[in-house]
C-alpha cells in the first residue's frame, strides 16, 4: 500500500500502442472477450463458485443473523456489484465482468514519479500549502493524512486501478478454479501492483507478536502484525536480514488523542482501520528499541502459491477499510483474515472466540495444524543489554559500573584488554539507550553527547564485537501461556459471618500468581472481572445471601526491580467496585461496595536477580465512593502497600501483601488489610489456591479452584 508513486516518465507509447490495438482489431477482440466471459460465467454458475470458501474469504464475507452473508469490508470500492457487500454471487459475476472491462485511457498511463522533473518541488510546495490549510482548518490526524494523500495522488496522476490491477487475488482465484489462463482479458500493465510485488519480493510470511508494553494503553494486550519475508537478500548477502522485510500492519486511523474517547471509539468501532505496509526495520526500531518489547515471529507454513495469493490479497485490501473494533475485529483478527483468504484450509478466524486478544490469537495460531513451521525470537534493547551484562567478567563489570556512575569515558582503565574494553563499552552504549529514551533523539542532550563519546572510543579500539545471540526466554513465549479467561469457584469462611460459596470470572489476562509460563513474571494485567459469593446465612432470603465481592474494570501492576542500570518504573492502578469491610459502612455486617480507584508508585527489589523472589513497596492513594457510608459518601486514603511474590516453581507461587490507608472524611481514621495466597497449577489449565486475609476486624479463609481457557 505504501507504493503509490512510480518511476520514470509517462510512457505515452503504451497509450498509443493500446489505441492502436483497440482501434485496429476492436471487433475481433471484443468477440473473443465476450465469448470467454460467457464461458467463465457458465462454468462458475455450474460450480456455484460463489460458495467456495476462498471466495467467501477473499471478499471477507461473514454469515449474518439471517443466514445470508455480509462482508466485513466497510470501504465500498472493494465491491464491484452494488449489492456486493451482502451478495457473494452478484459480487462474483460482477467481478468477472469488471475484469473484462475495456480500460480507460487514464488507467493506461504510468503515474508520474517524484523523480520526474519539477515533481519533487511541486510535492513539497503542495505539502507546505496543505499544512497551512490543515492548521487553519484544524483537521484531525486521520483526515489530514487522507486529504494530503488525495492531493498527492491527484498531482502524481494516480487514478483508481482497473479491476485487473485492483483485484489480482480474485483473478488468480478465477484462473485456478475455472481452469483459465486469462485469455480474452484486456492488455494492461499494472504499474503499481508490479512495483509492490517487486518491492516485497515475497518468499514466505510470518506473524509477528510484540509482547506487552504496560506504558501504552493501546498495547496492553500485545500487538500482532504480518511480516513478508523478502528474498532480496540472496542477491546481496550470505544470511537473511529481516530488517529489509516488509511489515503489514492493521491499525486504526486514530482520530483522537484522548485515552477515554480512544477507548470508547475503539470499543464501539468508530475508527476506520486500514492495512499498511512499512519496512520491517521501522517495526523493529519501534518495538525492540523504542518501546523495549520483545518480538516473537511465527513462520507460517504456506505453499508458494498461497504466498503469492496472500501478497495479491494484501494489495486488494488497499481499496477498502474496516472499522476497527478493539475487542473483536482488531489488528490480530485481521491478520487471520488475510491468512484465511490466502489459505482457506487454515480456517483461522473460525478458531477464535468472539473476543480477540492478540496473545490469544498466537496460541490459536500455534495450535492450528499445519500453520506454524518455526518460532523465532528477537530481543528487545533491554534484553540485549542484560545479555551483554551477563557476559561480563568481574573486572569488566567493575569498569562498566564505574562508567555508569561517572560517565567518564576517557577514564576507562587502559589496562583492560581491547576485547574487554569493547564488551564494556558495548554494554554501556546499550545502557545509555535504556535510560535515556527520547533524550537521545534531542539534539544537544547530555545523553547524545555521552553516546557520541562512547561510540568514538569504542570505534577507536578497532576490534569487532562478537555477534550476540540472545537465547529466547522460552518462559515468556506467548504461545505457551495459559488461557486469559479464568473462571473460579471456591469456599470461604469469615469469622463473623460464617461460610459462603464464591464464584468468579475474569475476562483477561494474568496476575502474578497465575501458574505456568508465557507471561512476563512481574506483571499483572487484569481486565473485566466479577467475583461474588452466596452466604450460607440461615433463615434469610437469597437477596441477602448473595453479594458481589468485586466488579473490576482493570488492575495493572508493573514490578520493575530497582537497578543501577536503568530507571525502574513500578506502578499499580486499580479501578472497579470492591466489597470492603469498613467500620464506616452503614450495614450491620459493616460491609459495603464502594467505587474504588487506587494508584501507587512503587519500589521493587529483586534480591536474587532471577525474579524468584520479588519484594515491593508502593505509596499511593485511594478514592472510594459509596452511598452506604456513614456521613460523607467519599473517603480518601493515603498509605503504603508492601508485599512479596515468591516463585517456588513454574506452577507453585506465593504472594502476600499488607496495606494501610490513613483516611480523611472518614469516621474511622484508617483501614488496613493483609492477605497471603498460595496457588498451585496442578494440571494444565487448572489451579488451586488458598488465601488467608485480615481486614481491620475480620478474618477470612478462602479456597478456590480456577479454570483457565
Amino acid at each position: 500500500m505504501g507504493s503509490r508513486l512510480f518511476r520514470g516518465p509517462i510512457l505515452s507509447f503504451i497509450l498509443g500502442a493500446c489505441l492502436f490495438a483497440c482501434v485496429s482489431t476492436p471487433v475481433r477482440a471484443e468477440e473473443t472477450a465476450a465469448a470467454t466471459e460467457a464461458h467463465l460465467v457458465a462454468r462458475a454458475r455450474e460450480l456455484k463458485l460463489w460458495n467456495h470458501p476462498q471466495w467467501i474469504n477473499l471478499v471477507h464475507y461473514e454469515k449474518n443473523l439471517f443466514g445470508g452473508y455480509t462482508s466485513q469490508a466497510d470501504g465500498l470500492e472493494f465491491f464491484t456489484a452494488k449489492d456486493g457487500p451482502t451478495n457473494p454471487e452478484a459480487e462474483l459475476f460482477a467481478t468477472i465482468h469488471a475484469l473484462f472491462r475495456a480500460p480507460t485511457p487514464l488507467e493506461l498511463i504510468r503515474p508520474k514519479a517524484v523523480s520526474d522533473p519539477g515533481m519533487y518541488e511541486a510535492l513539497k510546495k503542495l505539502t507546505d500549502e496543505f499544512d497551512k490549510e490543515a492548521r487553519a482548518a484544524k483537521y484531525p490526524p486521520a483526515i489530514y493524512g487522507q486529504k494530503l494523500e488525495e492531493k498527492k495522488r491527484a498531482l502524481l496522476g494516480i487514478v483508481p486501478d482497473h479491476p485487473l490491477c485492483q483485484f489480482p487475488a480474485r483473478l488468480r482465484f478465477f484462473e485456478r478454479e475455472l481452469g483459465w489462463k486469462g485469455e480474452g482479458l484486456p492488455k494492461i500493465e499494472c504499474f503499481r501492483l508490479d512495483e509492490f510485488r517487486r518491492r516485497v519480493d515475497a518468499q514466505s510470511v510470518s506473524i509477528v507478536f510484540s509482547s506487552f508494553f504496560l506504558n501504552n494503553p493501546s498495547s496492553t494486550f500485545g500487538h500482532s502484525f504480518l511480516r513478508i519475508n523478502s528474498g532480496l537478500w540472496q542477491k546481496y548477502g550470505k544470511s537473511r536480514n529481516e530488517l529489509l522485510d516488509t511489515g503489514v500492519n492493521f491499525a486504526a486511523n486514530v482520530t483522537t488523542n484522548n485515552p477515554i474517547t480512544y477507548a470508547l471509539f475503539g470499543m464501539l468501532g468508530l475508527m476506520p482501520g486500514t492495512f499498511l505496509t512499512v519496512p520491517y526495520y521501522l517495526k523493529v526500531r519501534e518495538y525492540n528499541d523504542h518501546e523495549m518489547r520483545d518480538l516473537w515471529s511465527y513462520d507460517i507454513d504456506l505453499t508458494p502459491d498461497e504466498v503469492t495469493m496472500l501478497i495479491d490479497h494484501i494489495w486488494e485490501e488497499q481499496s477498502t477499510f474496516y472499522f476497527y473494533k478493539y475487542f473483536t475485529e482488531n489488528c490480530s483478527y485481521h491478520m487471520f483474515t488475510l491468512l484465511d483468504a490466502a489459505a482457506p484450509r487454515l480456517g483461522l478466524t473460525k478458531r477464535l472466540s468472539f473476543y480477540v486478544i492478540p496473545s490469544d490469537t498466537i496460541r490459536v495460531l500455534y495450535r492450528t495444524p499445519g500453520a506454524v513451521k518455526a518460532v523465532t525470537y528477537r530481543p528487545s534493547a533491554r534484553a540485549q543489554f542484560f545479555y551483554r551484562l551477563g557476559n561480563l567478567n568481574d573486572a569488566e563489570r567493575e569498569a562498566l559500573d564505574k562508567l555508569v556512575d561517572t560517565h567518564d569515558v576517557a577514564a576507562l582503565d587502559p589496562a583492560l584488554p581491547k576485547e574487554s574494553a569493547a564488551r564494556v563499552l558495548d554494554a554501556f552504549s546499550d545502557q545509555i539507550e535504556l535510560v535515556s529514551g527520547d533524550d537521545l533523539a534531542r539534539d544537544g542532550s547530555e545523553a547524545q553527547k555521552l553516546k557520541q563519546r562512547v561510540l568514538v572510543k569504542r570505534a577507536s579500539l578497532g576490534v569487532k564485537s562478537e555477534t550476540i545471540e540472545v537465547p529466547a526466554p522460552d518462559r515468556s513465549a506467548p504461545h505457551l501461556g495459559h488461557g486469559m479467561r479464568r473462571a473460579s469457584v471456591g469456599f470461604a469462611r469469615e469469622n463473623d459471618r460464617g461460610n459462603s460459596v464464591t464464584f468468579g470470572y475474569r475476562f483477561s489476562m494474568h496476575d502474578f500468581l497465575d501458574p505456568g509460563v508465557g507471561y512476563a513474571r512481574n506483571m499483572q494485567v487484569d481486565m473485566f472481572g466479577a467475583w461474588a459469593r452466596v452466604l450460607t446465612r440461615p433463615n434469610q432470603g437469597f437477596r441477602s445471601q448473595f453479594e458481589f465481592d468485586e466488579l473490576n474494570i482493570f488492575k495493572l501492576t508493573a514490578l520493575t526491580p530497582l537497578s543501577r542500570y536503568y530507571e525502574a518504573r513500578s506502578i499499580r492502578a486499580e479501578l472497579g467496585w470492591k466489597k470492603m469491610y469498613d467500620r464506616d459502612c452503614e450495614a450491620g455486617d459493616r460491609r459495603c461496595f464502594p467505587l474504588n480507584l487506587e494508584f501507587g508508585k512503587g519500589w521493587v527489589v529483586d534480591p536474587g536477580t532471577h525474579e524468584t523472589l520479588t519484594l515491593y513497596g508502593f505509596l499511593g492513594g485511594r478514592f472510594n465512593h459509596s452511598p452506604h457510608y456513614r456521613g460523607s459518601n467519599i473517603r480518601l486514603g493515603f498509605g503504603p502497600r508492601v508485599g512479596a511474590v515468591l516463585y517456588l516453581n513454574d506452577d507453585l507461587r506465593f504472594g502476600a501483601f499488607g496495606e494501610y490507608y490513613a483516611r480523611i472524611w472518614a469516621e474511622d481514621d484508617f483501614v488496613f488489610k493483609t492477605e497471603a495466597t498460595l496457588r498451585w497449577g496442578f494440571t494444565k489449565g487448572f489451579a488451586l489456591d488458598a488465601t488467608a486475609r485480615r481486614e481491620r476486624d475480620v478474618n477470612e479463609g478462602l479456597a478456590q479452584l480456577h479454570f483457565y481457557y
Binding site: 505504501g2 507504493s3 503509490r4 508513486l5 512510480f6 518511476r7 520514470g8 517524484v114 519533487y120 518541488e121 510535492l123 513539497k124 507546505d128 499544512d131 490526524p141 493524512g145 494523500e149 503499481r192 518491492r199 532480496l232 537478500w233 542477491k235 546481496y236 548477502g237 536480514n241 529481516e242 530488517l243 529489509l244 500492519n249 486511523n253 486514530v254 488523542n257 486500514t274 499498511l276 512499512v278 526495520y281 521501522l282 526500531r285 519501534e286 523504542h290 518501546e291 569493547a422 558495548d426 552504549s429 546499550d430 539507550e433 537521545l440 533523539a441 539534539d443 547524545q448 557520541q452 561510540l455 568514538v456 569504542r458 570505534a459 577507536s460 578497532g462 569487532k464 564485537s465 555477534t467
Partner: protein, 193 residues
C-alpha cells in the same frame, strides 16, 4: 496528535531551511577530482531541495527528511504516521539519474529510522544494520564493510548532531575511497560540479 503533525511539518520546514543554510559551512571541492574527494560537499539547486555532489538533487521527500526529531517516527502507532513518512517516499526508490543518487536516497530512508542502531553497529564494526546497509547499497560481498566503516567512525558521525543526509554522504565517501568496497558496492563518485 496535532502536536506531532505540526512538529513534523515544522521539522520538514526546518530541514529545508537547515539545508539552505548549509553550503556556507562547507564549500564544494569542485576542482578536485572525484575519487579523491576529501569531504562530502553540498550545494543548493532550485533553492529548496537538498543537493548532492554526486548527482542531482535528492529524489524523494526522504531526501529532506532529517532526524532532528527522529523519535517522532515512533511517537504514534497510527497508520497515519507511516503514511506521512513512507507512502510518498517508499515508491520513490527508483530515482534513475545516477546509480549513486538512487542509492543515497534509499540510504537516507534507511538511516533516518536506523540511525541510532547503525551508529552502534558501526562503532562495533559489525551488526545487522550494517548487513542491511550493504543490501540497501547493493554491495556484493563487501566483507570488510563493517571494519572499513568502523575505522572511519568519527568521519561518518563527526558529532552527535550530524544529519541523515550527511551520514549517507559520509558513508558513500568512505566506501568510494576504498577500492575493493567501491567495486563491491558499485559506488562511483561522480562530481556534478
Amino acid at each position: 496528535m496535532k502536536k506531532i503533525i505540526s512538529t513534523i511539518a515544522v521539522s520538514l520546514l526546518a530541514a529545508s531551511t537547515a539545508f539552505a543554510a548549509q553550503p556556507a559551512k562547507k564549500t564544494a571541492p569542485a576542482a578536485k577530482p572525484a575519487p579523491a574527494m576529501a569531504a562530502p560537499a553540498h550545494h543548493m539547486s532550485g533553492g529548496s531541495s537538498y543537493a548532492r555532489n554526486y548527482g542531482m538533487s535528492g529524489c524523494g521527500l526522504g531526501s529532506i527528511w532529517i532526524d532532528k526529531n527522529h523519535m517522532q517516527i515512533f511517537s504514534s502507532t497510527t497508520n497515519m504516521m507511516y503514511t506521512q513518512i513512507f507512502a510518498v517516499s517508499s515508491g520513490t526508490s527508483n530515482c534513475v539519474e545516477t546509480p549513486t543518487t538512487a542509492k543515497a536516497d534509499r540510504m537516507d530512508k534507511y538511516i533516518v529510522v536506523n540511525k541510532l542502531a547503525l551508529a552502534d553497529d558501526i562503532a562495533r564494526g559489525e551488526g545487522e544494520t550494517i548487513q542491511g546497509l550493504a543490501q540497501i547499497m547493493n554491495c556484493q560481498g563487501a566483507e570488510n564493510l563493517g571494519s572499513a566503516l568502523q575505522a572511519k567512525f568519527a568521519t561518518i558521525f563527526p558529532s552527535h548532531e550530524v544529519t541523515v543526509n550527511d551520514i549517507t554522504d559520509h558513508i558513500i565517501t568512505v566506501v568510494g575511497q576504498d577500492s575493493s568496497l567501491s567495486a563491491a558496492c558499485g559506488v562511483s563518485m561522480v562530481s556534478a560540479l
